[in-house]
């Protein structure tokens, strides 16, 4: 069997760390090859080497049996290697056609020839069934369509080897199904695909072979068909991990948070982003609001926590109306909040870890006296949380938070909020972008909180997480709650239909 790409014994060092240590990846003609590993395992570095962004210290790259040196992305392009980036690289106010031709323009007497390009794009989208309007502006099309534009970009450049970097992170279950069909079609037309991911289900569903990296080291390359999920996971993480989350049935008690007919109008666009939302969260349960990004979940949480004013409606916490209170008063009246954007709303990146850990209560007498900090108490507090929540960092309490990994930044926030011991814990996408170990840890913490009689309100985009953690599920679509589900009785597919607006029901 011929290999189209061989990366043999690649070693890439950065100061103080071997990002790739003797890694080998061989891609066969016409296969989908998964590259599996946790965050920081070296997947991106390896692909950057292939793409010419980094030069390896050791090892060689062969394309179609010929040894090559790839100095920059243009070289990679010329060799027929193209990449669909995780964060799409599209110009929002360009048309689909303009985005595709950029950098590869056809001109006649100095003028752009967009008509030919448009024709070619139409042909390609017919051939590969990538429906998209060549004249639409990027900002007006859906995320799924934007991804198709990224794929078309590579096809337009006649790329034979396609790299997909975490392509499903932003898609709905239906869009993921569609993408998988597209990838299969690409392979059947003779393309070869490298799929970078840490989702095992996707690998099982679509990949032929899988190469696993851990902490920069090459672990193994396996046939996907004959390898179980458990084995894949163990090779990725380096220890056995539990799938599914162990938890006992919920024992809901009295209502902690009551949201009554809340509506929010966006100040800038004047659009109604949250419409008449009502729900309750009870002591001892995890209520999850599922939905695709941008359907009003962010605004709803901002409304409850006070970051945005409500246009209409009431928020009642433990039978006390807190709608009109300030953010600090709301927080003090019993809300712990793990915010969606940890770097923007959760932490001050330039501050030390210990100072970040007192952001919510630096003004209490525990930490200050007449405006002067009690440094010993702050240090004790930090050391206590670091120990309890296993927050790892270079210099302990004095580490600058910016220098910490995403997972440990999130652990710091989770620790700070749980330690405040409030009756309500709001967690917005608490595991976004984290690796398996950190996800497992945070899930355990949330369930433990529930079991200790706290009310937990979880906002999540990840269906796995929704199904595993929730005691009740609400689906939000275009600012409205369109259905309530029992995780025992529903399926990911059913949720997906509600999340994409294909179905809607009355809230029970």
């Amino acid at each position: 069997m011929a290999f189209v790409i061989e990366m043999l014994n690649i070693t890439k060092e950065f100061p103080g760390i071997k990002a790739n240590d003797d890694v080998t990846l061989q891609l066969k003609q016409g296969e989908i090859h998964a590259l599996l590993g946790e965050n920081g395992a070296g997947k991106s570095t390896l692909m950057s080497v292939l793409f010419g962004l980094y030069q390896p210290e050791q090892g060689i790259i062969k394309v179609r049996d010929k040894e090559v040196v790839i100095k920059n992305p243009n070289d990679a392009n010329d060799l027929g290697i193209g990449m669909v980036h995780q964060h799409f690289k599209l110009v929002h106010n360009f048309t689909v056609t303009e985005n595709i031709v950029l950098g590869y323009e056809d001109t006649k007497k100095g003028f752009l020839q967009l008509d030919n390009a448009r024709k070619r794009i139409k042909e390609l989208s017919e051939q590969y069934k990538l429906r998209v309007d060549p004249d639409a502006l990027i900002e007006n099309i859906s995320v799924g369509q934007q991804q198709r534009v990224e794929i078309l970009k590579m096809l337009y450049r006649d790329s034979e080897i396609l790299i997909f970097d975490e392509p499903t992170a932003v898609l709905t279950p239906q869009e993921i199904q569609e993408l998988m069909k597209i990838m299969k079609r690409l392979v059947s037309e003779g393309k070869s695909i490298i799929l970078i991911t840490h989702k095992l289900n996707e690998i099982k569903a679509i990949a032929d072979r899988c190469t696993i990296l851990r902490k920069g080291k090459y672990i193994d390359t396996v046939e996907v068909k004959s390898t179980s999920n458990e084995v894949l996971a163990e090779k990725m993480v380096g220890r056995k991990i539990s799938f599914g989350v162990e938890k006992t049935p919920a024992k809901p008690k009295e209502t902690i948070l009551k949201v009554e007919e809340v509506s929010i109008t966006d100040y800038i666009t004047q659009k109604i982003v949250v419409k008449n939302v009502c729900f309750e969260v009870k002591r001892g349960e995890i209520l999850t609001i599922a939905g695709i990004e941008g359907n009003g979940q962010t605004e709803l949480i901002h409304g409850i926590t006070g970051l945005k004013p409500l246009t209409k409606g009431k928020v009642i916490l433990k039978e006390q109306d807190i709608t009109a209170l300030s953010i600090r008063q709301k927080s003090l009246s019993g809300i712990s909040h793990i915010p969606e954007d940890r770097q923007k709303h959760g932490l001050v990146l330039e501050y030390s870890l210990e100072n970040n850990l007192i952001l919510q209560n630096y003004f209490t007498t525990q930490f200050q006296n007449r405006g002067f900090f009690k440094f010993d108490n702050i240090r004790d507090h930090a050391e206590k949380l670091i120990e309890r929540f296993d927050i790892r960092s270079g210099k302990g309490p004095l580490s600058q938070v910016r220098s910490m990994s995403g997972g440990n930044q999130q652990k710091a926030i989770v620790g700070r909020e749980i330690d405040r011991n409030n009756d309500l814990l709001i967690a917005v996408q608490p595991t976004r972008g984290l690796d398996v170990g950190a996800i497992e840890f945070i899930h355990k913490q949330l369930i433990q909180e529930r079991d200790q009689g706290k009310a937990v309100l979880l906002i999540s985009l990840e269906l796995d997480e929704v199904m595993n953690l929730s005691d009740r599920i609400l689906v939000m679509y275009e600012g409205e709650i369109v259905g309530e589900f029992d995780p025992q009785k529903t399926t990911e597919n059913e949720l997906g239909l509600y999340m994409s607006g294909s179905k809607r029901g009355k809230q029970q």
């Binding site: 110009v91 360009f94 950029l102």
Partner: protein, 323 residues
């Protein structure tokens, strides 16, 4: 009726003379900002371009017998060249060295008037450089005979007006119809996208800033030719006004022309209120009228900024590692 027509014939050339440099300089700013580099150095570049352009023209007048229009053309060309050289400093600081674009431009703005006055003092013992001659074209052959239009557009006109119109057409075509334009616009909106497709961000941004330098330098010469008979190290805030035009024009060539017309109207009113019937009846201190263009800038910008269409990546030095 006759008086009104005369008034129009009197005001119209002034109106054009104000609109042209404003829109040319704003178009210059457009190229820089659409490529992703804020250029508030327009004022300084205008001064530098204007200053060197005037020196060149003075030399030509003293030493040659060339036709004044040819001299004006050479002056404009010289201004553009030196404007470009001067802008190179901004490009180097803000693109290659990734410095703060506002600070680098402010330095150029402060340096230009000081340097020009210093040189003028050193060599000519005065900070005011006089420029001889009347640079209007009294009448364009044939076109000037067309009734009304001919009189408005083709008599007592400046060469720069026609150059300005050509520049507008060329600039719009370059920005929207050519490969360079597509790349410039992409670098101002999402340089990471452009970079991933093999576009050289640094090169494109250099080109953007240099075009802005050329247009602003030329605008400086046009300013002196149209408004002053001498150069004294100032372009009366036209560079900053052009920035306002750029923002009010929402970074779009056609809208920039309308924005320039608006600001030109304000300025012409400020300068000529005493002869405009109706306005000269209102007794207000002169200074109030003088303030008009600047007050209009404040008012208009505070409204326009609300739905600003500024290029998304403008003002951020490109850093490939922040993907």
């Amino acid at each position: 009726m006759r008086e009104l027509i005369d008034l129009i014939y009197f005001l119209f050339p002034l109106f054009i003379a104000t609109t042209v440099p404003l829109s040319i300089v704003a178009l210059g700013g457009l190229f820089s900002e659409r490529s992703g580099v804020v250029n508030i150095a327009l004022e300084g570049i205008m001064i530098m371009g204007g200053f060197i352009g005037i020196i060149a023209m003075r030399a030509l007048i003293e030493n040659t017998e060339l036709n004044l229009q040819i001299i004006a053309f050479i002056g404009l060309f010289t201004g553009a060249t030196f404007g470009m050289l001067y802008a190179l400093a901004h490009a180097f600081a803000s693109i290659t060295m990734k410095s703060n674009q506002i600070i680098s431009a402010t330095a150029l703005n402060m340096f230009a008037p000081a340097m020009s006055v210093f040189i003028a003092r050193t060599f000519w013992n005065t900070s005011n450089l006089n420029l001889m001659g009347n640079y209007t074209i009294s009448k364009v052959p044939i076109l000037g005979d067309i009734p009304i239009v001919g009189q408005l557009f083709f008599t007592n006109a400046y060469l720069s007006t026609y150059i300005g119109i050509i520049i507008f057409i060329v600039a719009t075509a370059v920005l929207y119809k050519t490969r360079l334009g597509l790349r410039i616009r992409s670098c101002g909106e999402n340089p990471h996208a452009a970079d991933s497709l093999g576009v050289n961000i640094y090169r494109v941004r250099y080109i953007g800033v240099l075009i802005s330098g050329a247009l602003a330098g030329m605008g400086g010469v046009i300013f002196v030719l149209s408004f002053a008979t001498r150069f004294s190290g100032s372009v009366a805030g036209f560079g900053f006004l052009a920035l306002a035009v750029l923002i009010f024009g929402q970074w779009h060539p056609k809208k920039i022309i309308f924005a320039a017309l608006f600001f030109a109207t304000m300025r012409v009113i400020a300068d000529t209120y005493s002869v405009i019937p109706g306005l000269n009846m209102i007794v207000m201190p002169r200074e109030i009228y003088r303030m008009l263009p600047y007050i209009a800038t404040l008012v208009v910008l505070s409204f326009a900024s609300k739905r600003s269409r500024a290029p998304r990546a403008v003002g951020e030095p490109y850093d490939p590692s922040k993907r």
